[in-house]
Symmetry: C2
Subunit: 363 residues, 2 copies
């Protein structure tokens, strides 16, 4: 067990929800207590609703299981995956906060090279609160960081930057590899602490991992749909990738920034590569067609919000990806259902009131 | 003075030339001796030919001053800048090696966080000898590095990578800032060692600095022209930027990779910001139009070599940039002259013999 830890003064405590897909690891919230306890947690239970999730004393949280999701969303619950971490996006939908930090329960506090524990959430908030630079590469990385700036030759007209919508953090110890790479390199550990945050340039896609991810829910939340994965579907382990492709092209279209790099956390456990291979094997070859699709997507200029972009993407998915597999027809429909649900639960542009939800365990 | 240092076993000693634009700093070659002495140096003297450049004993070098450049190139010497570091590109032209490493004489050996001296040249050769990944971003940076790989979601069809043509290194201590930033932040020093090499994605431009730069001369040399700068021209300090814009769009068109990050060296001296402001002030506002021009350049598919790309770029410069200033008409013509000279001094595709040059000081 851990000694009672000092809880640090946190940034934007009333504007952030931490979304966690199930907690099986009892140490998880104890270890993160100094950093997470001041925040509100949304836990989305991915499997059997009869299994009780234990949350340590002192945490403020709401917990949703499958019964809650069905009750709250009604028929629209079909868009939320079951028995799969992809269900976490339900938490994004019911949150009322500006920012989401989502993390897996096998991820623990990492230390920087000086031995200091890394406050991952604070770094994410910093990344989201400072501009991004998607239009031109700055060779000294984040120009807004203490001790850095734009280098010679960086256009002055671009130095104001753009609003950051996504902050993608990294992992020490177990790297986020696919099953084939896990099988080939079972002993590989990431020990390299790269002290950088950078903007992923406009027009470039990246593999977005949800183990250590934060985003501005108001700006990009509608594109953070984790798809139809796991139980009843031919694919898993592509929930965050799907969200990443959709969110990146949406950010590029809307002129929003996506950062990757710091903060690190420590990923403790490699999942079983054989199970993973079974889950992801369709994705491994589908992505060879899906990625060129997203690389070539252009959205019409009428798409001025993430919702509108996402509806347009759903149409393009139906038009262009169904030839890969009939699954994409269901996915396209689910994308529309997701946006319907999003609009129902979130303040719409015309100021209509939004639905209040009641979790299993009220805070 | 320095104690005699052990000279390290170098990579590809017969395939690399080190090109230096003048050496005013006597310590420079002494400090780099353990790393540079096995290589051949090409020194291009930028100013008064009567000033004698002193090169320490034990170095194998050739030295060209303005008289040599005029004698060797004849009327084509007009494309090589005078009294400006931009003259260094003459060294790229007369080299017969596969790789060029170019460095300024106010750059010294840096130390990594463990205190070990960094062999910048060895790291550049490593960067150039391993593939680049311009089509998709790898969040754990260089996937070919020991202890790293492609992360989950990286398309397998792209894991072979592409040939790397350019390796752009960075600077500890004095960062490479423009004059306004120097004036605003006179005391800023770069102390952050970011332990990463990354590919700059296709379609993204970057500010290429020639203080610490290596490239594959055979693949991209013709695009590494440093323009008309300094004496007799309205602009300076944009020689490497110009080469960087041209070389990056050429690499993108030809499917070649550009890396930035490691190695670091230590940049010892900030140049005078007032002098710099005078040199670069036209560039500061011209770049606001030049960069969008390069961002929108498309080269025809018939351009299958760097030479062909560069001739096409020269036409586009004349067509699109002369409206900024008549200077760009001269620059466009000089770009053509440069390629004429390049083809004269380098093996042409049809196997014609190339011109042998005789420096002031033969090796």
């Amino acid at each position: 067990m851990y000694a009672p830890a000092t809880v640090v003064t946190p940034p934007l405590v009333n504007e952030v929800d931490i979304v966690i897909p199930t907690i099986r690891n009892l140490d998880f919230l104890e270890q993160w207590r100094p950093f997470f306890q001041p925040y509100h947690l949304i836990i989305v239970q991915d499997g059997d609703p009869s299994i009780k999730i234990r949350v340590p004393e002192g945490y403020d949280y709401e917990l949703y299981n499958r019964n809650d999701i069905n009750r709250i969303l009604g028929p629209k619950a079909s868009c939320i995956s079951f028995k799969d971490g992809a269900c976490r996006c339900f938490g994004f939908l019911v949150s009322k906060k500006k920012y989401i930090f989502t993390i897996d329960d096998d991820c623990f506090v990492a230390k920087d090279p000086s031995g200091k524990e890394i406050n991952a959430l604070a770094q994410h908030i910093h990344n989201l609160s400072t501009p991004a630079t998607p239009f031109f590469f700055n060779t000294l990385y984040d120009p807004y960081r203490e001790g850095a700036d734009f280098v010679r030759g960086y256009p002055f007209s671009l130095r104001e930057g753009v609003t950051t919508a996504i902050s993608h953090g990294l992992w020490l110890n177990i790297p986020d590899y696919d099953a084939p790479t896990q099988l080939v390199k079972p002993r590989e550990r990431n020990t390299r602490y790269v002290d950088a945050v950078m903007t992923i340039p406009k027009g470039t896609l990246f593999p977005m991992c949800a183990m250590n991810l934060a985003f501005d829910r108001e700006l990009i939340g509608p594109a953070m749909y984790f798809g139809l994965m796991g139980h009843g579907h031919p694919i898993s382990r592509y929930d965050d990738m799907w969200a990443g492709w959709c969110a990146k092209v949406t950010c590029d279209h809307l002129g929003l920034g996506v950062k990757t790099g710091l903060p690190y956390l420590s990923h403790s456990k490699a999942s079983n590569p054989f199970v993973n291979l079974q889950k992801e094997f369709k994705g491994l070859f589908w992505q060879e067609d899906i990625i060129p699709f997203f690389q070539n997507v252009t959205l019409p200029k009428e798409c001025t919000t993430a919702q509108k972009c996402y509806i347009e993407l759903s149409k393009l998915v139906k038009e262009k990806l169904v030839s890969i597999d009939p699954y994409f027809e269901k996915l396209s429909d689910a994308m529309v259902t997701w946006i319907d649900a999003w609009n129902e639960f979130n303040q719409s542009a015309d100021g209509a009131t939004t639905v209040k939800v009641k979790p299993t365990k009220p805070k």
